[in-house]
């Protein structure tokens, strides 16, 4: 096994996998180093919701660009990836939230994203298991869902066809200065090292502005037809939560198996692994407020995971002070959605290609310059 590569990707989650494939397509000899299994971190823990998010122009640009990339890939994705364009319905509980629905509609319409306002009856028809009455909602048909670990697996499989090398069960001790030191003693060399280790990124780069944001999900047994779209509440508008407090939001997803994923929760400073029953309880309470029948479904498993959160809710895609070290992390709850665009933008920077969207807003250097602005706290609690 060679120890020299054109690029080494640290982490075989969905972001790392996407980067590996994009660089392999660019003709680079790529190695991917992963300490556990493919997609075993946040990729396994989160909801695979592919969503165009409107909380800031930069967020929208990245998510919608990536969403179109997924749509273009859809036909090739194997059945195990469970990609389905089921759409999202943003659920409005009252008139204030219906006003937000109108605002979103205009925002999306101006940018070519197809969306449709649903009144109370249309919402009930679209999702009979929602409680009544609710005010209505916004249906975004381009949104999709998939099963992230197999999506990461597919991307890596394609990368391997282009001679990328996958090293599983290897922990990285140190990375930088063109060297990646592994736990069993060997050192890999590359002029391009990409830290795609998600919430663990600061372990290799102390001081990196990425914090763990804990989330929980519940998966139920199979109830085919119970839920048809990804449902997300707009209720955060009423919430008094600051963007850094513990919060829960109604967010449920239908899987192709007929199982339901029930979320979502967000916590900072909750770094222990393991299920936090108090916040799961709040999460269920919130979910049952919108969909009372969830209470009597059979739950097979509850689990937690860590999103990689940055101060301004945008990911870190690009170079660091070390000319050999690059970042592709900090995706918070949008890693699945933006993995493909992240890979494109990073590869564009590395290979000097013209990017489809400006990559300035995602450059790691923006945080050092003090130019960070807070995104709307509104979207914070929403997406899983």
């Amino acid at each position: 096994m060679s120890l020299r590569y054109d690029a080494i990707v640290l982490g075989a989650g969905i972001v790392g996998a996407a980067c590996a494939l994009e660089l392999a397509r660019g003709g680079l000899r790529v190695a991917v180093v992963e300490r556990d299994a493919v997609g075993s971190g946040a990729t396994a823990a989160g909801m695979g919701h592919i969503v165009a998010m409107d909380d800031s122009p930069a967020q929208f640009a990245l998510t919608s660009y990536s969403q179109t990339l997924w749509a273009a890939l859809a036909a090739e994705l194997p059945p195990a990836v469970e990609y389905q364009r089921c759409g999202t319905i943003w659920v409005a509980a009252d008139d204030d939230e219906m006003a937000e629905v109108q605002r979103k509609l205009l925002f999306y319409a101006a940018r070519g994203i197809a969306a449709e306002v649903l009144d109370a009856q249309a919402l009930a028809d679209a999702e009979p298991n929602l409680k009544r009455p609710l005010a209505g909602g916004l249906l975004v048909t381009a949104d999709a869902v998939l099963y992230p670990p197999t999506a990461a697996g597919y991307l890596l499989q394609e990368a391997k066809k282009l001679n990328a090398v996958l090293m599983l069960g290897r922990t990285v001790i140190e990375a930088g200065d063109g060297r990646v030191k592994l736990d069993h003693g060997s050192t890999l060399h590359s002029p391009i090292i990409i830290n795609a280790t998600g919430a663990l990124a600061p372990d290799l780069m102390p001081g990196l502005a990425v914090r763990k944001r804990k989330g929980h999900l519940i998966i139920t047994d199979r109830y085919p037809g119970y839920l048809r779209h990804q449902l997300v509440e707009l209720g955060y508008l009423k919430s008094a939560h600051a963007s850094t407090a513990d919060s829960v939001a109604f967010n449920v997803q239908p899987r192709m198996t007929g199982q339901l994923l029930i979320g979502s929760s967000r916590q900072f400073d909750a770094e222990e692994r393991g299920v936090d029953r108090a916040i799961v309880s709040r999460m269920i309470d919130r979910a049952c407020d919108y969909m009372p029948g969830l209470a009597s479904l059979s739950a097979i498993r509850v689990w937690s995971g860590f999103r990689a959160a940055t101060p301004d809710k945008l990911p870190l895609i690009g170079p660091t002070d070390d000319p050999t070290l690059f970042l592709a992390t900090g995706h918070e709850g949008l890693g699945i959605t933006t993995s493909l665009a992240t890979a494109k933008l990073l590869a564009d920077q590395l290979l000097n290609r013209e990017p489809a969207i400006p990559f300035g807003p995602y450059l790691p250097s923006r945080l050092a310059s003090g130019q960070v602005t807070q995104s709307s706290p509104a979207m914070d609690a929403v997406h899983a």
Partner: protein, 80 residues
């Protein structure tokens, strides 16, 4: 002599003893408990509530482990 109970499996009435589990009642009725995700017929495997192969709908409740439930009068069992 154990009491006998009348109940329904997939709409058909059967009579079993009160000490009978629903899983056994399903077998007595000549049915299989469930169909697997790829379409195979399935029946109880472990007999003790661990394998979930004996699942059926009992009185409207889906995914019930029938080997753990004793039959009751007028119980409605629906296999999949």
């Amino acid at each position: 002599m154990p009491d006998s109970i009348q109940m329904f499996v997939d709409g058909a009435p059967i009579t079993v003893s009160s000490a009978c589990t629903v899983a056994s009642a399903i077998a007595i009725a000549g049915r299989n408990c469930r169909t697997s995700v790829s379409g195979e017929p399935r029946g109880p495997l472990c007999g003790m509530g661990i394998c979930f192969e004996c699942r059926a709908m009992v009185n409207g409740k889906q995914h019930t482990r029938t080997c753990l439930i004793l039959c009751e009068p007028a119980m409605e069992v629906v296999t999949t």
